[in-house]
Point group: D2
Chain length 348, copies 4
């Protein structure tokens, strides 16, 4: 179950970055859904490094082959299995990493857990794995579309440069000319400068993604455990490098007084917008929004000190192809995990 | 399952605040554990309002009666069921809330989900429910003690007043004379002044709790889904009023460069302390720590505007007994949810 | 999870036979169901030894106290917790069983698993535990009644004496004058003679229970895993002493030719009645029926040889109060496990 | 979850018989297991129709391609995904079945559940799906081999012709010259005659498979729910055409007296062999054995009456390639489901 998520709509992921393929199974998808292949491909493209030259040097083909669960483009109600072949791999780049634990990475924790690991490109710890999530997430979006529910994510903070405006205003704000998926064109420019500066100095950049979900009816979620925002946190914190989650302005709200939060009622029965659209674990019918904090990529181009498996400190220069700034590529992954979670909650 | 948490060590909670009893079942606890009743009672006392006069007017007896799973004070390996009678209830205080949705509360979302609710004292949405978690959490701590693992939580930010020192230094820092469970005596005083000021003006105060877990061996957790920090987030965000979670300095870390995070290696194979002791979802052998953000209590003493079930705005003065500042009482609840999560992960 | 069953409608059981109480939690029951306390009490009475003098000497009060999930007799959608105090216990009767493994019982397997066990009256291995199932099952029956679904079980074979008529004809066939819950009054008499003969010689008697479920719509169940009859088997084989399950005439059908089974179509789209109403794991809209085989009670009054915990063979005379023929008491338990399973399947 | 089985060792299956591929994911397999590809291929061959000319006309290649979870032939502890391409399919054979519900099949129940179905070769309801189970089962056998546990299944009853000898004596009894997987060479001959007679008349034959598991230590299983034999029933009743399960001589035992069962103690602490090696849901350290009853194949060559989707009765002659006697092919499937279940129980 450690590679599955969901209760009735269950997504299971498989694959190492330099193994034969990455893919997944989506079980519990209703029968009779006409697949929107354009949406799948468009989300795969948003996750791919194409057009994000500044930040990565990989070119992944990401052709999704469906193996089951579909007949003539329509879902059968049976498990939808699919794979994406890992074609753009240069495993030899990673030979000198076999015995070194890269700083900030999960190399030593995987060694502690499994005793063995596929060191090539991070193996299963690689963000390559998220390609499988994007396909399942796109199908989940198709299920949500039937209830008119939209899921959109945005890069809203990079290196401390932050979009302050109301998340409710973000919808549809990203143009093709904005490589950073930021809802504010001007701030996007500032962010990009910072990213490029760090990239040139062999360093990496982190940030925050804000996700906005619209048209979820009131009453979705569960009390006590299985709270809707707890599951959104669980789903999004499973994304590589995600280290923080807040519903609405969670951490800022903790500094306020009760009257300050309660006063700002938007409309009958809907709580303050900054609470993020969920009360007591259950949707309140307003816009649901939350933020996910991502640490800067652990792989950096500059030389670092690192420990090897014998406990000695060595000098390390990471080769291979890695992103110095991955947040725009994480945007469709946040959307995928969110869509899967909401669609699962709607199924019970 | 919406009222259960855990995979092998499963805790199920039951009870409405003004119903006959609140309690739970802990299933999956190994046989042969000698129960430390003092720990259970001490954690119940830390959660109770006793000695927290400034912030609540309730006196709960919280006598735990064990119904099964124990023979002569030793666990049998069978489900441990227990209940705490709800004795200190004044249901009539809540009569005028029957048709009013209290601002910031889950009243309208529960109505949307269930169509029916126990309005007395919040019913199952009341934080009264957490008394059951504290008992199960105390038993989980007994399981962890066998591996020398400790779980301690602290109030580290109140109304924006924040303890900045290293979480690794917090252990054992709380004395009986510190009613606020803050590891810094001086800052505790500042916090208390702010809390009392808000209380006097009929308002409530929020804050942040930091939890520190020591001596978890490297290798605990799961890759991809079921990441250890994702489950810690899921467990702690199930606590009433918890709206944010960050592993280590999650949101602050998102502003840094990769080199800044990676540089600060503490010792061989352990990543930067600010990363919170978990890499790639798996414990790295260092101190695990994280923060949980709590909104100020939604129930405030001052008069508010509120919508009723007919959609009309009415004037509301909340009676009944409620806390204007509940964070010290939430400290053992954070510990309980954390201990249950870690103990569950150790069981598979 | 080992003491829970169900996916969305989850029943968790607790209690040792000579501990303070036996009970359970039913989680996932919808809000707004008016509880039929008469049904609960009537099913408890059917499970109790009252009026079954020939076969047991126990008198259990079995007063069910509800602890949560109900307000003014109506379900709240929150967990329904309840307990039945264990009042009619004579623990001293079991003192000499502390170190002896009773033949046919689970004494040695529990010792192997847990290292410790509550020897008094079988502890949690006692069929006393099923009292908690009957309460949850009665609530499940209330849920099914809304879809007009009925669940009835019958004793159809005792010591090889078997009712051969069509299970579809059993409905409503049990009168108060039939202490054995057999749908054929005449065969019931033969069965009772055999039971009493064995009882007098200090021996016990086994048999088969047939369960009939009516008005389940076509399309309930799941393909591959989670087949409806597989879950019915799983649920019913969890009843103490249940050792066999067959859907329809499962074992007899294995001797037939395909044409013999296929030929006997009852009506359009419904497969042969002897197939039991489920095809490919999914209900076909016809009557669902199956049989559960129960071994004779392991506790017998006559003197036996038994091994003790030191591996020595000793002479054993079991005292305490036990049934020499428990099948009529197992009838409402089969109904309970079946109702819980069907109601759970209807919830997703 | 409907296509997954297991708690910690989770097998998920996918694929329609005439879709691109059938396969699965095995999640929870420990790291460091060297894969025995010969065992996988040998079990696939035992399931394939090769050498079973009398009973099928299919030739399936069944080449298993592993997609993840393995590096240099050793498991990584990550999900093991694999697929088998469906090469030997003649979908056009099934064109005239599009609107007809084959008698005894799941056609109408799938239509009722999903509204849509892949009619070609039964789609996902086809026993083709079991090829994926055999691969996962072979890996589970590798895990069990580390504890010296063996799982062997045998055809022990065909058309009422039954092997009566002690299941403990079956081990290793099947030679290559015995196409029917029966442990008694002479009875195998009688069975084969009956099968061929039915086959010639266009009919199908059913039977019983007995499974024998050796060297499971005492103490494996769970009390109350999650009983070991209940899970074995659940797993084996998920096999197409399986309609009955009994632990040991379950149905025969129900006719005995308690003294008859209890008397036959084999050795200290081990209950009567006919009880099947499990007491109270927990292994007793003796041989575990059980029987699974299979109905004769629903697809028969002779002409039948059938209802179509418009409710009209039509004449039906099933083309395509189907087995008139599939039990020998089901033997490795029973072993697979059993090995998966036992290996899962050993993991917690």
């Amino acid at each position: 179950m450690s590679n599955s998520i969901g209760r009735n709509l269950v997504f299971t992921s498989f694959g190492e970055s330099h193994g034969p393929a990455t893919g997944g199974i989506l079980d519990g998808c209703p029968a009779g859904i006409k697949l929107d292949y354009d949406l799948i491909n468009s989300d795969l493209r948003r996750r791919s490094p194409i057009g994000k030259k500044a930040t990565t040097s990989r070119v992944e083909a990401d052709q999704c082959e469906f193996l089951s669960g579909i007949l003539d483009g329509v879902t059968l109600g049976t498990p939808i299995a699919y794979l994406i072949r890992n074609t753009d791999v240069k495993s030899s780049d990673y030979d000198d990493l076999k015995e070194v634990f890269r700083p900030g990475h999960a190399d030593h924790t995987w060694a502690a857990k499994f005793g063995i690991r596929d060191h090539r490109g991070g193996g299963r710890a690689s963000a390559r794995e998220t390609v499988a999530r994007v396909v399942a997430g796109a199908i989940a979006k198709m299920l949500l579309a039937a209830s008119n529910i939209s899921v959109e994510a945005f890069v809203t903070s990079v290196a401390g440069i932050t979009v302050e405006s109301d998340p409710a205003s973000f919808s549809g704000k990203i143009s093709a000319s904005n490589p950073i998926s930021c809802p504010d064109q001007k701030i996007a420019g500032l962010m990009l400068s910072e990213v490029e500066k760090n990239h040139k100095s062999g360093d990496s950049t982190g940030g925050v993604i804000t996700c906005v979900v619209q048209n979820v009816q009131a009453g979705i979620g569960s009390p006590v455990f299985n709270k809707l925002h707890a599951s959104l946190a669980y789903a999004n914190l499973s994304i590589p490098a995600a280290k923080g989650f807040e519903l609405g302005a969670g951490f800022e709200n903790s500094k306020l007084k009760g009257s300050e939060l309660n006063d700002s009622l938007l409309k009958p029965n809907i709580s303050a917008a900054s609470l993020g659209g969920i009360n007591g674990g259950i949707s309140n019918g307003g816009i649901i929004w939350f933020r996910v904090a991502f640490r800067p990529a652990a792989s950096i181009a500059m030389e670092q000190k690192a420990y090897n498996s014998e406990g000695k400190m060595v000098s390390l220069k990471i080769r291979g192809r890695h992103d110095s700034f991955f947040l725009p590529r994480a945007v469709p992954v946040v959307e995928a995990m969110t869509a899967l979670t909401i669609a699962d909650y709607l199924s019970y």
